[in-house]
């Protein structure tokens, strides 16, 4: 049957043209096309790799920042704590000192008051003695203005003195 009988001429031309076509396309089309495709894929791959690396770097930097921030925060906290502690301590110390000072002042005052009072009491006593003596003298002067009462007193005093 004609349809399934290959013709020699067509086989020949097919071989010739397909061969030339393959040769020309392989050399002048497929080689540059596949080359550029590969090159472009390399470029895309390296760009993607770079982006990935940058992203990793960024993440690392971010975590570093986070760490730094946390450290700074901790340091700030510790500084604040230390400051508070020292402030508290200073306050407590000054409070203690003030208390002691106060006590001392009170003590001093008390001592001074005491001394003052003792001196006052002594003075008063002295004065009272003087006053008493004066009074007694005045009384005695009045009492002993007559002779009988003078005698009586001498007698009483003598009695008392003897008994002693």
């Amino acid at each position: 049957m004609e349809l399934v009988t290959p013709q020699l001429g067509l086989i020949f031309w097919q071989l010739v043209f397909f061969g030339i076509l393959f040769f020309l396309l392989a050399k002048f089309a497929w080689k540059p096309i596949l080359g550029s495709l590969q090159e472009r894929e390399h470029q895309i791959q390296s760009a993607l790799d770079l982006a990935e690396k940058t992203r990793a770097d960024m993440a690392k930097m971010q975590s570093d920042n986070q760490k730094l921030l946390a450290e700074a925060r901790a340091e700030r906290d510790s500084i604040l704590k230390a400051a508070k502690e020292s402030a508290d301590r200073i306050i407590a110390e000054s409070k203690d000192k003030a208390t002691v000072e106060g006590k001392r002042i009170i003590e001093d005052a008390r001592e001074a008051i005491n001394n003052e009072r003792v001196a006052l009491v002594a003075q008063m006593r002295k004065e009272m003695v003087t006053i008493s003596l004066d009074i007694a003298e005045k009384v005695l002067r009045k009492e002993l203005s007559d002779k009988t009462s003078q005698e009586k007193l001498v007698a009483d005093l003598a009695k008392e003195a003897r008994l002693n």
């Binding site: 349809l3 399934v4 290959p6 020699l8 076509l21 089309a29 540059p32």
Partner: protein, 339 residues
């Protein structure tokens, strides 16, 4: 793109200048009697090769492009003349040669080799120029636009090129060897595809539905596969590992037949698919003439459009199947022993 269309237009002008359509009146004795329409004959005529390019028949006038006859006569040497001499002569003879049903023989009985530029060869040349134009343009845009994103024709064809490289070549042949075969597979795919599409154009030649063409392509694949056959490949053919010795008496002949069956199936598959598509399409068109009624034409138009669309799919599909099978045969041949 504009560049290409200009080039295609120039090509078209060039071809039409070559054509000098020999408009001839049909021989008077033919339309004297009412010829009965023979669908089978018409279809076979359209599917087969011929020594002229028949574009259209307007009334009783054939618009044809005569093509050069090139014959090698074992007695008289090379002879080149226009095929119009055969078609115009009353008895179909010229310079001692006779052409009957597109078959040329010498009147003196000498052995002839027919290397004529037939319709299929002319179509082959057109596809050759077309493919070179397309892919040189694409290659050029890769150079001029290197490092940039693809554009125009380049971006239309790039996915296909990448698909053939990655899905067809790399997947079937393997990472290690596939690069060597990508140019062949690309050429094969685009050659078959473009020619399938050219065959769908009304008046186009049925190149990929010609057994000589598919035979040649299958033979090239056969040689590519077997010349690249590694030890493992031949080992599987002549001494299938893991098979009892006595079974090899059966297995080895089967495997040897398989070596030839693979390209044979490639040849038949492409030929049968493309020719069948043409036959179905022509059969639908013949219905108008068989029923001799205009009423069937809407149905025919719908069906033939439908078939044409399917044929568009088949054109790409068969190109893909031929390429992918070639790749898998190559893959089996270059595969190395892993066990």
């Amino acid at each position: 793109m504009k560049n290409i269309s200009i080039r295609l237009f120039v090509l078209f002008l060039f071809l039409s200048a070559l054509a000098t359509p020999s408009v001839r009146a049909e021989e008077p004795h033919k339309h004297g009697e009412e010829e009965k329409f023979n669908a089978g004959e018409m279809i076979m005529h359209h599917v087969a090769d011929e020594h002229q390019w028949h574009f259209a028949t307007i009334g009783h006038t054939h618009v044809t492009l005569p093509l050069p006859i090139i014959i090698y006569d074992t007695n008289k040497g090379l002879k080149i003349f226009s095929s119009s001499h055969f078609y115009h002569s009353a008895d179909g003879t010229h310079e001692g040669y006779k052409m009957e049903h597109e078959h040329i023989s010498a009147l003196d009985g000498a052995k002839l080799y027919d290397f004529s530029i037939t319709k299929n060869v002319a179509s082959l040349i057109i596809s050759f120029i077309l493919l070179l134009t397309i892919f040189f343009t694409v290659a050029k845009s890769y150079k001029s636009r290197s490092g940039k994103s693809p554009k125009g024709l380049q971006s239309a064809l790039e996915p296909i090129i990448v698909f053939i490289r990655d899905e067809v070549a790399k997947n079937n042949i393997g990472e290690k060897h596939y690069r060597r075969f990508v140019p062949y597979l690309l050429t094969l795919f685009f050659f078959i595809w473009i020619n399938n599409l050219l065959g769908l154009i009304p008046g186009g030649a049925n190149l990929t539905g010609n057994i000589a063409v598919t035979l040649t392509l299958a033979l090239i694949t056969f040689f590519v596969v077997n010349f690249n056959g590694k030890g493992t490949y031949w080992g599987h053919i002549f001494a299938m590992p893991g098979v009892p010795k006595w079974l090899l008496i059966i297995m080895t002949p089967v495997e040897i037949v398989g070596v030839f069956m693979k390209p044979f199936s490639l040849m038949v598959r492409l030929f049968a698919n493309i020719t069948a598509g043409h036959i179905i399409l022509l059969s639908f068109l013949s219905m108008i003439f068989i029923f001799e009624s205009l009423a069937v034409s809407p149905a025919v138009a719908i069906f033939s459009t439908f078939i044409n669309l399917i044929e568009l799919l088949v054109a790409a599909l068969q190109a893909y199947i031929f390429t992918v099978l070639t790749a898998s045969y190559i893959g089996a041949a270059v595969e190395e022993h892993h066990h």
